[in-house]
Structure formats: C-alpha cells, structure tokens
C-alpha cells in the first residue's frame, strides 16, 4: 500500500503543546488519523478539545510538537517554508465559516487565483475555474463579485477554490456556521459530493446535523480521540 492509498492526510501520534512549564497546555495528546480519497471525516468536540489545532496542523499552518503529518505522502515537517507553501497551494484547500473570498475579484477570479499564483496561465486557470464553478452548480455566476452573491453561493465559490488544480484535501472549518439551515445543508451536500468524486475532506463542526454527512465522526475531548461513529449502510438504520 502506498502512502497515498493509506490516506491523502495521515496524522501519526501527533502531539501539540503550547507554552512551557506551569502554563503548558496540551492541545493535542497523541492523535492518529488517516483520511482516504473519497472520505469525509467530521471532527466534533467542545471548545478547547483541540479540533481547530488539528485542522491547523493538517493544513500546515502549525507544526506538531511531536508526531508526523503527511499530506499526499509528503511529511510537512521536513519542508522549507517555500516548499510548504507549495504543498499548501497544490494539495490543500481550505473552506472557512466566513468564506474568505477576495471582494475585489469575481467568482471565477477568486477560484483561478491559486492556479495563477502557481504559474498556470491566466487563460487556462480561468478555464479550470469556469469548469469547477459549473461543477459546484454556479457556472452562471462566474462574473459576479462576492458582495453580489448569497452566503450559500459564496461558500460554493470557496469550495471550488479549495478544489481547483486537482487538490484532493479539503479542510473545512465550520463551513455552514454563517448559513441558514437549508443553505447549510446544500453546502454539506456539495462537500459530500466532492468527496464522493474522490476528494478527502476534514470537517470541523459543532453541529451534529452537519457532521452526519461524514463517513466517520471523530469525537475529541481534551486533545484525545475518545470515540468514533462510523457510517453503516442506511438500510440497517430503519430495519424494524
């Protein structure tokens, strides 16, 4: 089994400690987790349980105190800043609660930006962006600016941006937090379908209804995995 078959994202015995001495805080106390292509994993836990730290480590925004983080088989620990920035640009997509789109750019420009930064010609980046926007169901809004779009539409743009350039790891931090119930659900259905199409997703949420879209729900308490709910075939759920 190759590293990537084991997981697009593999965390092994990851420990993250903030501060030293008396004021030392153990944010993560030995987390191991693998997320395979096609899999959506939700991470739930009360505030302070370590779920944001986990997402930051997975995205290369923070470094573990010990343990290893592999993205597409590459260990993030050994990388120079430049190389890490490249992995983050090419392999990892982020989706945030508040969308984080560039307001001065159109939907298509927001999506093609990471590709252009990566040296792809504006023309082909634009073409890729257009195709992805169509895949997330808003092909006709390519020339709109974020301010002229609804929250749900903006989050679709953000998901397209997270996936552009064949990136396969989507890290979503409360992606439905700013959306109403039905719009949030449509965004979750989209994230689910992108994972079904081969992406690997990690979703941090405190909302059980949205976590339920995942194949696996990991429960964190005080920086440790205390339990997991693994999805079964739905027919079993309603069997009398």
């Amino acid at each position: 089994m190759t590293a990537v078959e084991q997981g697009v994202l593999v965390l092994t015995d990851v420990v993250r400690t903030h501060g030293t001495g008396e004021g030392r805080v153990h944010a993560l106390q030995g987390i191991s987790l693998a997320v395979r292509p096609g899999e959506l994993v939700a991470v739930m836990g009360p505030s302070g349980s370590g779920k944001s730290t986990l997402l930051h480590l997975a995205g290369g925004l923070d470094q573990p105190t010990s343990g290893q983080v592999l993205v597409e088989g590459t260990s993030l620990a050994g990388l120079s800043r430049k190389a890490l920035a490249r992995v983050r640009r090419r392999a990892i997509g982020y989706v945030f609660q508040d969308f984080n789109l560039v307001p001065a750019l159109t939907a298509a420009e927001n999506v093609s930006l990471p590709r252009e930064l990566d040296g792809v010609s504006a023309r082909s980046a634009r073409k890729e962006a257009q195709a992805l926007l169509a895949e997330v169901g808003i092909g006709e809004l390519a020339d709109r600016f974020p301010d002229d779009m609804s929250g749900g539409q903006q989050q679709r743009v953000a998901i397209a941006r997270a996936l552009v350039g064949d990136r396969r790891l989507v890290l979503a931090d409360e992606p439905t937090g700013a959306l109403d119930s039905t719009t949030g659900e449509a965004v979750m259905a989209l994230l689910r379908s992108r994972c079904d199409a081969g992406a690997a997703g990690v979703l941090v949420t405190h909302d059980a209804r949205h976590a339920a879209w995942a194949d696996r729900v990991v429960f964190l308490r005080d920086g440790r995995v205390v339990d997991q709910s693994v999805y079964r075939a739905p027919e079993e759920a309603l069997a009398p």
Binding site: A189, A208, R209, W213, V217, F219, R232, P234, A237
Partner: protein, 201 residues
C-alpha cells in the same frame, strides 16, 4: 404516534380496504413506524364502534370488489377527528416516557456507572443514526417530499438529543470540578442537577 389518527387521515383521502391501509401508511412514512396487521384491524374495529368509519362492500364508485375484504369509508365524525388531529400540536408529554432522560438521571446517583461513558455511548449511537438518516435523505428524489420531511423530523429530533447530551456532559464536568475544589465543595445532591434538568426537557 397514534395509529388511529394515521389510519383516519388515510381514509379521509379515499375509502380503502384494510390491507391497503397498512401498505399505504408504511409507504407514506418510509416504514418508520411499522404496523402489524392486528394493530390495523383492532384500530379499524374501534373506529367503526366509535362511528368514525363504516365498513362494508364497495359502493358503485367503481372500486374493485374483493370478496371477504371489508371496505372502509370515513364518516363525518371521522373527518372531524382528522381535522382536529391535524390542527392540534403534538404535546411532548403525550409521548412515551423518555427512557434516555430516566437512564441518565439514574446513572447520576449510581457510583458504579461512569456517566461520561453512558453519555458518549448514546452520542455515538445518535450520530450514527444521524449519518444514516442523512444518507437516506441524500438519496431521496425530488418527488419524495413527504419522505424527506419525515427524515428531517428524525434528523432534528436526533440533533436535539445530541445537543442535550453535550449539555449534560458539560454540566457533569462542571459539577465534578466544583465538587473537586476543596474550598467550594458542593454537597452530593448538586451532582443530580444535570439529569434533573434533562428530565424537564
């Protein structure tokens, strides 16, 4: 869930044979509340006794006649009851006792039971159910609005349960911390607070 009102609501739409009612009820609710044949006929007999339905041969309305099968039609009294059912909110207290709330309340007073594990086991199970409902919903076709709304009801109820479990867990933790702190040690009954709160939900 009242079988009586479910059957009456179906009969308010059109007259049907008894055996048809069971199939129709299950189809409409996605087999969420399976009925047994005995339940259906006992209920129909009571409805007939109460003057809510009449049983007999199909009238000349063109319905297929099937020998030996009673054909049920709703009466004006029955229609009144259906209308009243649809327009009256479901009262929480009319549901069966909440076994989970009772279980947690009893767990609080029992030193041999690890409350955190009881809560987590339930949460894990509830999330798994939510995962299942969510997949079923994702598969439901656009035309399946009724089925999709039944699933939504289960999703939101289960979600409420998970939130309540989260709440119980943090209350238990708070109570433990308070009990553990030497200066503000609370008497034992304080630990009962989270479950008491849950029962009132």
């Amino acid at each position: 869930m009242s079988v009586r009102h479910g059957l009456l609501a179906l009969l308010a739409e059109q007259p049907r044979y008894g055996y048809e009612l069971r199939g129709e009820f299950e189809a409409r609710t996605g087999s969420t509340w399976p009925l047994n044949v005995g339940q259906v006929y006992t209920t129909l007999n009571r409805l007939e006794r109460d003057g809510c339905v009449t049983a007999g041969e199909p009238s000349a309305s063109g319905a297929r006649h099937e020998s030996g099968q009673k054909y049920y039609e709703i009466t004006a009294t029955g229609r009144g009851e259906v209308t009243a059912w649809f327009t009256t909110p479901v009262r929480r207290e009319s549901r069966p006792r909440d076994e989970l709330a009772i279980k947690l309340a009893l767990a609080v007073g029992n030193d041999d039971v690890d409350l955190a594990s009881v809560i987590q086991a339930q949460r894990s199970d509830s999330i798994r159910a939510l995962q299942d409902y969510t997949r079923l919903k994702a598969r439901a076709t656009v035309g399946d609005l009724a089925w999709s709304l039944v699933l939504d009801a289960m999703v939101f109820q289960t979600e409420a349960e998970v939130r309540w479990l989260d709440h119980c867990e943090s209350r238990v933790l708070q109570a433990r911390r308070a009990a553990g702190a030497p200066t503000v040690a609370l008497p034992a009954p304080a630990a009962a607070a989270p479950a008491a709160d849950g029962v009132r939900r």
